[in-house]
Symmetry: C2
């Protein structure tokens, strides 16, 4: 008689985005004339840049000709895309070996699949609020989870507490949902903690392309990180690949525990349970890293960052506390009048026709906070902030 | 201190294809004038068909325009590709619901990832010889594996033994590496065994497109299979998607164990650890199922099957025992003179310049067998078989 993974019974059903969708649908039905502006889901709106389209078009053509057709490729990705990623890291002072880079179909897959390498009896430290996938994937494996309070007092950037022992540590910087970004000194504290305790940091760098100040884009900019950290990155927000699907994961050769090499284990995992990313998509990834591609994607990122500035200017004007928006496409704001986040969601929808994400969907520390994204169009962002200002000024 | 998954220490390093590659390279260096014909690795050689290229070209173009750009799609796949798959099943008498079909980046990923749903204490029954991924993925989870003898006596089609209790059962039909295909009566025995014992069959249908006789293409053609089987399929061999990456997995709504729905569990797994297949690739998949696409891919399959016939005609002429080749791109032959499979590999390479795969790479029952694939070109297949005939006639 087959026996199932009972841990699945402990995963809470996540209704966050479906609850939002049904509330919006109900409102929309009652108020067909109201133009609703969506700043809730973290999906991009600008199309793939010309350089990406050009490389993918070539890739598709190659696949149709016997001389240039590509069958099975290396599970860990083609050299032609790993090379420019290696060069990209070099720009921010990080030297990687080619076989420390693994091309993936996105950070979400690898953040989940990496847990195959760890036993179920590790204690996992996860900030609250957080991207829900970190929590759910560990519940699926039955690991003990402890939460690090991420709140207004620490600017939503919790630091290690030596009295707490954690084996696996999740850090997302720039953070989803708070947009907060760690500086070098802060990240060094986490790296030191991990090396001192034999812990491993799972570093989610999916939003690194939004950093413009002197903040680390990679945890490997911090001394000692190569013996304690795995880094996950994605082209989803960097280059609008949310529906195109490509990311990369870095597992340093020096990352070892219990006499086992994590790099070798991950290679084994990927060659056994994965067959590589589509050749066409990897060609598209190449288009991100050409000089024209770099220029084109930075224009898109600047566009979103200008949207973020429109949002933060509004918060500044209203005197609302927030994090993010400067090195991140997310603005995490304190609900006016200390409202509960769903209460503010309802109010903002009904009175202003603007959709955001209630902070309580990301954890208990989010209960009086609210996330707005900068991924909308310029026009909608401007209009949404005008409506927001009018609403909050009237409270 | 982090604790790793110690089961990884028990996985044997697989050197099969790298050993083959280095032997071929060494021979080639010493004999630069010999034209080597490769019939070892199961990768296709014909390019993607016009219908697929046309749909992907449209898909790429859409991704470059704001009006038609696609961001995050449903993790389980777009309706536009699930609908034709549903229709395809209907052609062989299988009625599926749309949400029983999950689009994946290939059967290999899903065959590995599906094990997330099962606890580590199941006993797994795997035929020997076999596609090595079934074994390795279960060793990674520490499951007990028992092998079903697949051999000349049973035509490489083992049947259930009621005295043996297995919770998870792997069946691959048409089989890799043996090319043998189960008929309805034989598969019914496995389905009955599974329903009687509360076991779950993991049915690998990756080669179903090569079936032409009255053999089941899907396990769901067998009464009772929807309460005991998960089916994995792939466009890799169907439509040459080895480097394009798309497959699909069917988890019936009626598949339940311990009061849990496997369909719900898999949906939860995929929405948490996967973000869907690239929109462009799903468009390519759509091109497989249009009337022109169906015609074009069947021309490719016929081409490969004609190659297979050239191989089996040669075996028939030489009086060599084999399975496969009729409903499969693989011919699994008994080594002449009862040679050990690596010995025959060396002989065939040195005397005929032909590369195949030694059966011992697939399990102990393969030690006197050898796999040839029909995925080469017509010219090379003809030439390889002429050389084969000459060599074996001279022994």
């Amino acid at each position: 008689m087959v026996s199932l993974n009972k841990n699945y019974k402990n995963i809470k059903e996540s209704y966050l985005f479906s609850d939002i969708a049904s509330k919006v649908a109900a409102f929309s039905e009652k108020n067909p004339d109201v133009k609703i502006i969506r700043m809730g889901i973290g999906d991009v709106t600008r199309p793939l840049c010309k350089s990406v389209i050009s490389e993918m078009t070539k890739g598709v053509k190659e696949m149709g000709e016997p001389e240039t057709f590509h069958g099975y490729g290396p599970e860990q990705g083609y050299g032609f895309i790993k090379e420019p990623i290696k060069e990209y890291y070099k720009e921010h002072g990080v030297e990687l070996l080619l076989d420390e880079i693994f091309i993936s179909d996105g950070a979400k897959s690898d953040l989940g699949n990496i847990l195959d390498l760890f036993s179920g009896d590790n204690t996992v430290l996860i900030p609250d609020p957080v991207y829900p996938v970190y929590v759910d994937t560990n519940i699926m494996d039955g690991r003990k989870i402890i939460f690090a309070d991420s709140n207004e007092e620490n600017g939503f950037l919790p630091l290690p507490d030596d009295s707490i022992k954690a084996d696996l540590i999740y850090i997302c910087s720039p953070n989803n949902p708070t947009g907060a970004v760690y500086n070098r000194e802060q990240l060094k504290k986490w790296v030191d903690y991990a090396n001192n305790n034999g812990s491993i940091i799972l570093f989610d760098a999916a939003y690194e392309a939004f950093i413009s100040g002197d903040y680390p884009k990679s945890i490997y900019e911090i001394e000692g990180a190569k013996t304690c950290a795995i880094e996950f990155c994605s082209l989803s927000k960097t280059a609008g690949f949310t529906g195109t699907r490509m990311g990369y994961t870095v597992v340093p050769k020096n990352l070892k525990a219990e006499d086992m090499s994590l790099n070798k284990m991950w290679l084994r995992r990927q060659t056994t349970k994965f067959n590589g990313v589509s050749y066409i998509v990897q060609k598209g990834g190449l288009g991100v890293f050409t000089p024209e591609g770099r220029k084109q994607i930075s224009e898109n990122i600047d566009y979103y960052k200008e949207n973020a500035k429109i949002i933060t200017d509004c918060m500044d004007e209203l005197g609302i506390f927030y994090t993010g928006g400067k090195n991140s496409p997310y603005v995490w704001l304190k609900c006016p009048e200390n409202m509960e986040s769903w209460e503010f969601f309802d109010l903002l929808l009904k009175k202003a026709g603007v959709v955001g994400t209630p902070g309580s969907g990301f954890g208990s520390n989010g209960k009086n906070f609210f996330r707005l994204t900068a991924f909308s169009t310029r026009e909608n962002t401007v209009e949404a902030m005008e409506r927001f200002k009018k609403l909050v000024s009237s409270l």
